[in-house]
Amino acid sequence: MSQTTETNAGGLEQKATPQNLPSDLTAAPGRAITAAVPQQLDRSAAADSAAAEPQADRASSLPGAQVAEPQAAHPAAAPKPQHDHPTAEAAPAPAAIITAATPLQAAALGLSIVAEARWPESAHDHTPPNLPGFILSSFSPIAAETAARCLSRRPEAARPSATAIVIATARGDRQSAAHVAQTVAASGILGPLLFFQSVPNAVAGHIAARWNLTGPVVCLADPVSALETAALLIEDGDADQAILLHIEQGDRDQAHAVLLQPVDARPVDAAQPPPGAHP
């Protein structure tokens, strides 16, 4: 997949700007283009019309302008299948593979990928293992399984003292959100377990507890920003390594996890207190 992000002189990702984007992808300026092209084609249908609105009423012209009224919010909350967007159908949709980070992107920030995993990795990956405490949606089970595969592939010598967990997801747990919206609209009763799984932090906490990841917990919407954050956390001593997990639910649920460490990583100095160690 070609990458349209460039590395500037400072070694940082240069985000795609309106000037250098293809015209059908100018709807969201400043957002880096990754391999997930069909997602952007979906959003461009709504966002293009917003970009054409006069400046006078910027707020209401924004795509998906949200109001506090639940009645207005509910129709938007239910995820629409792709065939509702004619402009998405007009362009052929390649089988896009989402990417948390490429070795090139990592290297530009002084990091290397020492382990990785995907969902799905084979035709056998159609239902993730059940994740106790999480219900109804495949989002958290896929996140947990992908992270587990990645962390179980961590090289022994590289075992660090503190690993940050950085989750990149633009749409989050869509299944849970849709269920909540529909249930509330119908004045139904919500299962209490849904409470915490509505934010990505919860599965991050599961992964952190299961694998003893004591670095910071961060959730961002796009993988390029997530990679920059991971690099900065490592550079500033908040963590020795970072697992970056990119996950999106859609027609095909997908996840990609990479374990990142500095290119010049040295064994942990036993004389120094490791970051994240509990005193």
Binding site: A68, L190, L194, V199, A204
Partner: protein
């Protein structure tokens, strides 16, 4: 454990690093249950007036809890975000070119249809910024954005970042929190108090301009920051508070400040039984003997828990307290709790503050600490 706490024993207990450039806050704007403006929010906090009332914005007939801290009517998130961003940028006297050269870091609840990144990009485009990213890590989303921005500015990789955040109390989140038995049925948030019964949601939309320091006097300095993970549970914090303690130690270490230099702590203080006790333990672990003496309040007792925007709301209020030399109150107090032996601000008080800490905790064991210094 020595009387110093782990923050007092840095650098032995902290490996936090930072760039050399000093980071300052130059513009800020907020919208809360008290309406638009920092002053309305701050005056309520200094007087101990709460913003909780029965919810009218949507139907709560089927809910165990009935109250929240909401602004009147049905404000629109995108509109309030743009208004707050414009106000903060105007206070910082940003030109159009300044905005175009600058990134927007936006903390919001996820958007399952549009995608949080596209929503953030839309706001950034409407405000003339060069780009945007969205943070969605619940109650530490905004503080994480501030810490990332501060780290970038400190390393000289950005001259300026605008951080904005917004959450307006909605039916779906209210229903979820109520189903999880997290909301206080008595309509009050009582941080660190005996008889505390849970949290209540609150509106907040805010923006700050974070910059590299210049000769011009800023609103305040962003002197230090720290973040850590508990690695403990999907939503419960470590009962011994050691994860939060590390975040506090890192913030003080980055600011080269001792615990005794901290004049006020704006605690996370959600008002739930377990979380407040864990936080009190974390304060003792971090600050040692100073923990029982530094004035502490959770202003969630005033403005509620504003989810992804809460940390920015509380940072702005902490800056306002620093500048006014007055302490926000810990409202809703009924009596002492043995697990929460802190110097709670229960009466209006003036204080000459050099430094103040604001703390936030979220699901997944996420902890953040931001250290604010007088200009």
């Amino acid at each position: 454990m020595s009387g110093d706490g782990i923050a007092g024993q840095a650098p032995r207990t902290s490996r936090a690093r930072r760039g050399a450039t000093e980071v300052v806050i130059r513009g800020m704007s907020v919208f809360s249950a008290f309406g638009p403006g920092v002053d309305a929010l701050a005056e309520a906090a200094f007087a101990g007036e709460t913003g909780f009332a029965p919810v009218e914005r949507f139907d709560v007939a089927g809910r165990r809890a009935k109250a929240a801290a909401v602004a009147p009517g049905s404000p629109e998130l995108a509109r309030e975000l743009i208004r707050a961003i414009d106000e903060a940028c105007d206070e910082a006297a940003l030109s159009r070119q300044d905005r175009a050269d600058c990134q927007l870091f936006l903390a919001i609840h996820g958007d399952p249809t549009l995608g949080a990144d596209a929503f953030a990009a839309g706001i950034a485009a409407a405000c003339g910024f060069g780009g945007a990213r969205a943070y969605t890590s619940a109650c530490v989303a905004a503080s994480t954005a501030v810490a990332d921005a501060a780290a970038l500015i400190a390393h000289g990789r950005a001259e300026r970042v605008v951080i904005a955040a917004g959450y307006l109390v909605d039916a779906d989140q209210y229903a979820l929190f109520d189903a999880g038995r997290a909301l206080a049925p008595d309509g009050r948030v009582r941080p660190f108090s005996a008889g505390r019964g849970g949290l209540l949601l609150g509106d907040a939309v805010g923006a700050i301009v974070l910059e590299a320091a210049t000769d011009a006097e800023p609103l305040a300095r962003l002197a230090g920051w720290g973040r850590s993970g508990d690695a403990y549970h999907v939503c419960k914090p470590r009962p011994d508070g050691l994860g939060l303690a590390r975040a506090i130690a890192d913030a003080l270490h980055r600011g080269t400040v001792q615990p005794t230099d901290v004049g006020y702590i704006n605690a996370h203080g959600s008002g739930t039984k377990q979380s407040d006790a864990a936080e009190a333990a974390g304060l003792r672990a971090a600050l040692g003997d100073a923990a029982a003496k530094i004035p502490v309040s959770s202003t969630k007792s005033i403005h509620g828990q504003a989810l992804e925007a809460g940390a920015l709301l509380e940072l702005i209020l902490t800056v306002a307290a620093l500048r006014a030399g007055r302490l926000p109150l810990n409202a809703g107090y009924l009596g002492p709790d043995d697990d929460c032996a802190l110097a709670l601000v229960l009466e209006p008080a003036a204080a000459d503050l050099g430094y103040a800490l604001t703390l936030n905790v979220a699901f997944g064991g996420a902890n953040t600490a931001l250290l604010v210094g007088a200009p």
